[in-house]
Amino acid sequence: MEDLLMRLNRGEILVSDGAMGTMLMERGLEVGEPPESFNFARLKVLSEIATLYLDAGADIIQTNTFGASPLKLSFYSLEDKTEEINRNAVLAVRKVVGECAYISGSCGPSGKLLEPYGDTSDSEMYNSFERQMKALISADVDIICIETMTDLREVTIAVKAAKTVSSSTPVIATMTFDPTPRGFYTVMGVNIEEAAGGLESEGADIIGSNCGNGIENMIKIAKEFREFSSLPIVIQSNAGIPEIRGNTSVYPETPLFMAEKAKELVNVGVSIIGGCCGTTPEHIRAIRKVVDSVN
């Protein structure tokens, strides 16, 4: 497959996939069960989801490893299975996408707080991420995607771990921002200027935002990233902020709505557009159409 960064630098826009959690819930994820529990005996489900997103037109397919760093897995006493969980997730996707899409190894927050706010040291954090990165990279992922981060120190530690394990594997790093009266900030108080600067200087190749916002806020976030960095930008938006209807929650943004707004992301200069919570293969299909009309 052609080098990802070369394609992006040429100005090509790529589409990444949509939500994983809701797909797993529809396929039997029990409450209280970590999504990574699918990575043992239910690999067929992971392959099936990858196929759905591939068919919808995604160029980048994420692995079911968001919570598969040993620190995070320790919440479920699964840390000893780190290698197996990460490896299986990559293989389940590779089996169906072959070389038709890039496999992006998802890496979410550790669930722990760094000192002095919490009890985790920088080196414990680093070792945890390094172990996950080794597992993902040795299983041949094409990209590492560090996502939904709120603490700049934690995310830069993860980027460093990824780059140390393999300097040639492209690293996507995204953070999650909340709109406040003073602009966009992560819950840990990081603004977009700080995020862009910090991620770029640690060596991330593609930076941006995922989760936490619907696509309209994401357009604003993308504009700010563009202002503060010349790196390729990735935006993976939620399908809006969920609304409660009876006993279930509904993500209000339709595939058509998101695709229409995705045009503005293209205009801002976003290089990778995909979905996060609440998005489905239908959302990705609609975004694909828009992206095809510009590429």
Binding site: F75, G189, I244
Partner: protein, 212 residues
């Protein structure tokens, strides 16, 4: 500046060492532990809570302030026990199943402890049966549930339904909160109270336990 003010100020700065020093000084000056708690520690923590809600400060500031609060509370706790002041109630709290957003819940836990409640924090991703089991075993008067994802909100209803099934409604009260949770939703699922922020939640818990 009076000493309780100093405790509050340094708590807000997240300086646990200074809070420890000034709390010791206040104890030496024979200020009652209750006064130190209410007009020093809780007073400062309330301001932190309000600033956090207004996005003037962020989570790291809250976490450091909480650490400082505990530094002071650790000195006061033995005095409360010695004076035989009972805790004013037992509360079990947690974020509901599938939810890993625990900032608001932690804040409520800190404030509840500060207000004199005994708090059992079950952490994140707490299943309905775990809430009920612990609530019964520990004989709590209130269950506090938090959610920041609407997808996990229905689990709050399961807890309340389980309480109904077991005939514990009324005996164990429920309060819910979290960003997407509304008063209307609380009414709909039969929760006894809704806390729109951490400070409000403490007032409501006091109400539920007959403290106000």
């Amino acid at each position: 500046m009076d000493i309780l003010n100093k405790i509050s100020e340094h708590l807000q700065l997240g300086d646990d060492e200074k809070v420890r020093i000034f709390t010791k000084e206040a104890i030496k000056a024979k200020i009652s532990p209750k006064e130190i708690l209410n007009d020093g520690l809780i007073f400062g923590m309330d301001i932190i809570g309000k600033k956090y809600k207004a996005h003037e400060i962020f989570l790291p500031d809250v976490l450091l302030a909480a650490k400082a609060m505990y530094a002071g509370m650790d000195l006061l706790r033995p005095m409360f026990i010695k004076e035989g002041i009972p805790t004013i109630g037992k509360v079990v709290i947690g974020t509901v199943q599938g939810d890993l957003h625990d900032i608001g819940k932690n804040l409520v836990g800190i404030m509840l402890k500060g207000a004199g409640f005994e708090v059992i924090d079950l952490g994140n991703d707490v299943s309905p049966s775990e809430f009920i089991e612990i609530a019964k075993k520990e004989d709590v008067s209130v269950i506090g549930m938090s959610a920041l994802l609407t997808t996990t909100m229905p689990f709050m209803k399961i807890v309340i339904d389980l309480l109904k099934e077991e005939g514990l409604i009324g005996q164990i009260k429920t309060i819910i909160g979290g960003a997407p949770v509304t008063e209307e939703f609380a009414r709909e699922i039969g929760a006894d109270a809704f806390g729109y922020d951490s400070i409000n939640a403490i007032e409501k818990v006091k109400g539920l336990t007959g403290m106000t």
